[in-house]
């Protein structure tokens, strides 16, 4: 195990390593290619600070839900109700805050609890009754779409109190307001984040190497670190030159980091993958498969609720049509990101990249003035293509 190339006896060296890891980075490269393409054909509009900020705000709720959906898909299930649940929770929030003047923090927590309860209700049937999740959540989709309509009595309810709007349209407070066109606090956070990321990967690499674990070649590691830091810094620079970091981007980043950690490093994450990989074997290994499945649905409910709140805050009104079709974008994001429809396979990073691919395509095609009709055609083909490539790669 001290030999670094032991994991690749047949193709040693850098080219072999890159070839073996192409699958992990394939979607990321696709995202970069798609961004580059739209950057060129939109004459640089895509990466303008204003547009980039908008891109983040537009896709935040998809990314948030994709984190929960990834866990559901990894256990071998699906949740079709997330769009309706998000819309319903937005409606509940509007009714609480606008009609009954409940204070923002209380309403916020109440809405997340509603989401958890919905997830628990659906997860119960799936996990303990063995009813296919497709059917349970199809029912949930109809139920909560209808309930949203009922709660709102068919009307749009708004506007929300300004403090609640800040959830989506707010930016982090600026500590040094006099610094000209750039927002220095946001920039500083970005620089620190880039530094911490590089340091953390370097430390974990050193630790693995010290324990004789096969690690990536040094040159590859350096290139990867520079690219990572560069991307974070450039992104922060663009964001900082508009209005600074949006609040919702902070929430998103924290959630992505949290779910990335849970899936890769924790016992519960490992067990979720075990359930999806082979539920019977996992059960006979002492994994509480039902409880875990139940938990993933509760988690999904909470995240759908959070997404619903973010969306409502962004529109500044709750409409009966909110959340319509979100589930399709969320599920597509997970599958484009490499999750397997059979369960047991999928990465948080993949789902996030998948959501961004969908987001960039939506945004870029809108800038180009492509109609909503052909946008859907193209998105559908991209989804099919991504999954085909994945299946082809697995067969090889």
């Amino acid at each position: 195990m001290t030999d670094k190339t032991v994991s690749l006896p047949e193709v040693p060296g850098h080219s072999g390593f890159i070839k073996n890891n192409l699958r992990n980075y394939g979607m990321l490269l696709s995202l970069l290619a798609i961004m580059l393409f739209f950057e060129i054909v939109t004459d640089g509009t895509l990466l303008q600070p204003l547009n980039l900020t908008n891109l983040v705000l537009q896709n935040s709720y998809i990314v948030i839900m994709a984190l929960g959906m990834l866990l559901v898909i990894v256990t071998g299930h699906i949740d079709l109700s997330v769009g309706s649940v998000a819309g319903f929770v937005g409606a509940v929030a509007a009714v609480l805050m606008v009609r009954y003047h409940v204070s923002y923090p209380i309403a916020f927590v109440a809405c997340l609890l509603v989401g958890a309860a919905i997830g628990a209700a659906q997860g119960y049937w799936v996990a303990y009754f063995g009813i296919p999740s497709f059917i349970v959540t199809l029912a949930g989709m109809l139920v909560f779409k209808g309930l949203a309509l009922a709660v709102l009595q068919g009307q749009s309810v708004g506007p929300f109190p300004p403090t609640f709007q800040k959830l989506s349209s707010g930016f982090i407070p600026e500590l040094f307001p006099s610094a000209g066109t750039l927002y220095p606090t946001s920039l500083a956070i970005g620089i620190v984040l880039a530094f911490v990321l590089v340091l953390a990967t370097a430390r974990s690499r050193a630790r693995e190497q010290a324990h004789g674990i096969a690690v990536e070649p040094y040159a590859f590691f350096v290139v990867k670190s520079i690219a990572l830091a560069g991307a974070v810094l450039y992104f922060t620079y663009l964001i900082a030159s508009h209005r600074g970091l949006p609040n919702v981007l902070v929430i998103m980043t924290v959630l992505i980091a949290l779910y990335g950690f849970v899936t890769r490093r924790t016992v519960i994450g490992r067990q979720i993958y075990a359930v999806g990989g082979n539920a019977k074997a996992a059960k006979l290994s002492g994994v509480k498969t039902e409880r875990l499945t139940f938990f993933t649905f509760v988690n999904m409910g909470v995240l759908a609720a959070l997404a619903g709140l973010v969306f409502a805050a962004r529109l500044n009104t709750a409409t009966p049509k909110a959340g319509l079709g979100f589930e399709l974008d969320v599920i597509a994001a997970c599958f484009i990101g490499g999750a397997s429809a059979y369960g047991g396979v999928g990465r948080v990073g993949g789902a996030v990249v998948g959501a961004m691919i969908m987001g960039v395509m939506n945004n870029g095609m809108s800038i180009l003035g492509i109609g909503i009709d052909y946008q859907q055609v193209i998105k559908g083909l991209v989804l099919l293509g991504a999954v085909c490539i994945d299946v082809y790669n697995q067969r090889r």
Partner: protein
């Protein structure tokens, strides 16, 4: 009488394992020909060759039917000639009616539209022939196994059967249903329909067979004409099991200590047919450092016994007492059983034992993640060390512990499963067919591992259908049949013949009881 079927010099091998060697087998018109032998003797393989499941060209030798050499490409070719096989696992669709099942592949139709009246009428005729009094539109799922078996036979009749092959038809039937089925075979003989009967129940075989052929290790070792010779059960049993021990076993020095597990009055019911008691109030003792074998036929209840002990992973209404090291153990769930110190290595490695897409490391640690984590966070260095340790200790041959278990050979997969359970540090290991589908070299390694486990003071139970294996590695052998222990031998005292005789004696006893009961039931009817 002339030969209807003649199989000449049939040989067949799978990936280097010779399943059939130069087998010749003849069936005359209107004959009931019984085929007996141990599990894995080659009976099912021979029948699959005959029915075209293994197409012509995939085996050596020839099949002559009605005096002409036949080369079946698939099962349709053999069915066209009236050779119909009824497998042990019935091939009926549960939510379709009897009539729909019988005419599934060849419904009487006019211009492609199914003639429902004809289906109904002909089904009624067929059911009358097999003596099943049920309306043709009854759903299969509403029938018991015995009646389902009769539906299969009616289905065979609908295809104008001339040679009926039954693979252990009575294995899952009660005594009365078995008797009824055998009566049917005798009636068919009168109509000139020949049958091949694969069965472990020598009493049934003796009752209906005109000729008995014994297969062993893929060879024909004996053939008895029942009309001219007396049927000697001892002779059949001896032919079934007599063989040289083909592979050697590691030297074993047993140091047997205090009882580590005592099971009292253990009773388990079937999870679906909840009125059926599968394990019938058995007692069992296992000592430290002891390797105990459980012998028995398929369906004897061995796997069910082991899995029910492992946190009620099989069955419902489990009752009885288990003491581990003298203290009563909580075995109400799999996690509880693991905590109590029981490990179960399944017979179905791929479906129940491993996560094939996951790597060796994750499979080794999945049952003991607590050991390599702190407050729910996995220490990946500790995990890797643990997995690498087991890789070295168990000599798992893989490129590294990040290799997917699905890419490993059967023997190495089994070592991964054993590693998983060793990591939980069990007091008692229940090994269910631990060497199934593993080549001879890897078998020896597994035997050595079993020895080491016992030497470390653990109790080991080995369930195996290979009797030489049990004789080679166990200190004591318990014989199970029909959910109860029916014999026990010390290793030095046990022989394959003794074990087989213990099983057959019990099978015959339950069979005889059935006849008496059936007779009584018949006599009592108005």
């Amino acid at each position: 009488m002339t030969a209807m079927l003649e199989m000449r010099g049939v040989s067949k091998s799978f990936a280097g394992v010779q399943a059939l060697r130069d087998v010749s087998f003849t069936v005359e018109a209107g004959q009931i020909h019984a085929l007996v032998g141990e599990n894995g003797a080659g009976k099912s393989t021979l029948m699959k060759v005959l029915s075209g499941v293994y197409p012509a060209g995939s085996y050596d030798g020839s099949i002559v039917f009605d005096g002409e050499e036949r080369r079946f490409r698939d099962i349709n070719d053999s069915e066209a000639l009236g050779i119909i096989i009824i497998h042990q696992e019935l091939a009926l669709i549960p939510l379709m009616s009897i009539a729909e099942n019988i005419f599934l592949s060849h419904p009487p139709s006019r211009f492609g539209v199914i003639d429902r009246n004809a289906v109904h009428r002909r089904t009624a005729e067929l059911l009358a022939q097999v003596g099943l009094r049920e309306p043709p539109d009854t759903l299969i799922t509403d029938l018991g196994v015995g009646k389902q078996q009769l539906v299969e036979i009616a289905k065979a009749l609908s295809k104008r059967v001339r040679l009926l092959i039954l693979d252990e038809p009575t294995a899952s039937l009660n005594e009365a249903d078995s008797a009824a089925l055998l009566e049917r075979l005798l009636a068919f003989r009168e109509q000139g329909i020949a049958s091949i009967l694969i069965s472990h129940k020598l009493n049934e075989v003796a009752r209906v067979a005109d000729r008995i052929t014994v297969l062993r290790d893929g060879r024909t070792v004996d053939s008895i004409d029942c009309r001219t010779e007396r049927i000697e059960e001892d002779r059949i049993i001896r032919s079934m099991v007599d063989r040289d021990l083909a592979h050697r076993f590691p030297e074993r020095k047993a140091e047997i200590g205090e009882p580590v597990m005592t099971v009292e009055n253990w009773s388990v019911y079937h999870p679906l047919h909840t009125e059926r008691q599968v394990i019938k109030n058995v007692d069992f003792t296992l000592r430290r450092g002891e390797v105990v074998g459980i012998a028995g036929l398929m369906g004897a209840g061995r796997t069910e016994f082991a899995m029910s002990l492992f946190g009620c992973a099989w069955g419902t209404n489990v009752s009885g007492k288990v003491r581990l090291d003298g203290r009563e153990a909580d075995l109400s769930s799999v996690p509880a059983a693991i905590d109590a110190g029981i490990a179960y290595v399944t017979e179905d490695r791929k479906q129940l034992g491993l996560i094939l897409a996951a790597d060796v490391r994750k499979n080794v640690t999945v049952a003991s993640l607590r050991q390599v984590s702190e407050r729910g966070v996995i220490d990946d260095v500790a995990e890797l060390k643990a997995a690498s340790d087991y890789r070295t200790r168990m000599r798992i041959r893989c490129s590294d512990v990040y290799q997917a278990t699905g890419d490993l050979s059967g023997g190495n997969q089994q070592k991964v499963v054993l590693s998983k359970w060793l990591m939980t540090d069990p007091r008692v290991l229940l090994l269910d067919e631990p060497t199934r589908g593993i080549d001879v070299g890897a078998k020896y390694e597994i035997y050595s591992i079993i020895n080491e486990l016992a030497e470390a003071g653990r109790g080991v139970v080995v369930i195996s259908s290979e009797m030489p294996e049990l004789l080679g590695i166990c200190d004591r052998i318990c014989v199970m049949n029909d959910g109860a222990f029916v014999g026990e031998f010390a290793a030095h005292d046990a022989t394959q013949e003794k074990i087989m005789r213990a099983i057959m004696r019990n099978v015959r006893m339950s069979g005889r009881g059935a006849d008496e009961r059936a007779a009584r039931a018949g006599g009592g009817a108005p």
